[in-house]
């Protein structure tokens, strides 16, 4: 279930791929070679409902794992409260990213979902990379553009109000909006095409949390 992809990162971030990629926001192209962790999932292996519980397990694992390496200012140890707050933020965001990727990945593409985390001086970055069905790209990009041209706070409340009006559907993007509004996270995206037997459309979502 959980694999470390050694070459995956090299492939994902090569310059060749970047030329045809479409980027929104301040996407950080190359992960640091510092402490990092990558989990891989095969979306077509078992049904989404069966694997759903693993999103939470994986998110909590990543948060707990990273806590050992959380960068500290002036080498001062964190208070228990601050550490709990950061773990909670990483756990929430990682879970949302995994939930999204499981929902939107192209189940027929033999393309893994990967959750990659990296630590910078005073930042934590989470990347989730997954395939996406071509018809969904336009909707997603429309949302991203709306997000970038709106006050996220106002947009969040508006989406919640819209949601309340609709029966059993939810507008996508609420997870992203909570990351921005409640956790002061910065988001960026990269859309790309990966050449396999047939080309696979992919999207990488990056979430940056200030420490």
């Amino acid at each position: 279930m959980i694999q470390i992809f050694g070459n995956f990162l090299d492939n994902l971030f090569t310059n060749e791929n970047l030329e045809k990629a479409q980027v929104f926001g301040d996407f950080v192209e190359r992960p640091q070679q510092d402490e990092h962790l990558t989990l891989g999932f095969s979306p077509s292996a078992i049904p989404i409902r069966k694997r759903w519980r693993n999103n939470g397990l994986s998110a909590d694992y990543v948060a707990n794992y990273l806590a050992t390496f959380f960068p500290t200012k002036d080498n001062q140890a964190y208070s228990i409260e601050k550490l709990a707050e950061m773990k909670s933020a990483v756990s929430y965001i990682a879970n949302e990213l995994l939930e999204n990727s499981m929902k939107y990945a192209d189940q027929t593409a033999l393309y893994p979902i990967t959750l990659h985390t990296q630590l910078d001086d005073d930042k934590i970055r989470l990347f989730v990379d997954n395939s996406i069905l071509p018809p969904q790209i336009e909707n997603f990009q429309t949302f991203i553009k709306e997000l970038m041209n709106s006050d996220p706070d106002e947009l969040f409340i508006r989406k919640l109000e819209e949601n309340a009006e609709s029966e059993n559907t939810e507008s996508s993007g609420l997870g992203f909006l909570t990351m921005i509004n409640d956790y002061s996270a910065k988001l960026a995206w990269k859309f790309d095409t990966v050449e396999q037997d047939s080309p696979v459309m992919t999207v990488t979502t990056m979430v940056e949390l200030a420490v």
Binding site: S88, T178, Y183
Partner: protein, 114 residues
């Protein structure tokens, strides 16, 4: 009244008119949250003078869950006779971050983080 799953439990305690949430809620979407929303709506339909949503033991709530709670609170704006209270915990970080949004949706709501 109760909705129970692998990692969570939601039940109504008529002694204090509170709907108690326990555990971690990461259901896949609004449809899966429907039974919990229904439980909340059934309690609200009785128009009690006070209604408490007690989240003090809810360790985790995903964005679909936040969406479900928001939907309930927005619906409660029409029931002006019911005084809504959300009880939360300062020991659970997500609650300090996200519950204030419910108060923005319904300014008359009491948010009590202990």
């Amino acid at each position: 009244m109760q909705v129970k799953g692998e990692n969570y439990n939601v039940w109504f305690d008529k002694n204090n008119s509170a709907v108690n949430f326990n555990g971690a809620l990461r259901l896949t979407g609004m449809q899966d949250y429907a039974p919990i929303l229904q439980l909340l709506n059934e309690i609200a339909a009785g128009e009690p003078p006070n209604m408490v949503i007690n989240l003090q033991d809810l360790e985790f709530l995903n964005s679909s869950g936040i969406s479900m709670l928001s939907k309930f609170i927005i619906g409660m704006r029409k029931k002006k006779m019911v005084q809504m209270k959300i009880l939360g915990s300062t020991n659970i970080p997500w609650q300090g971050k996200s519950l204030k949004n419910l108060q923005r949706l319904m300014p008359g709501l009491t948010l009590d983080l202990q």
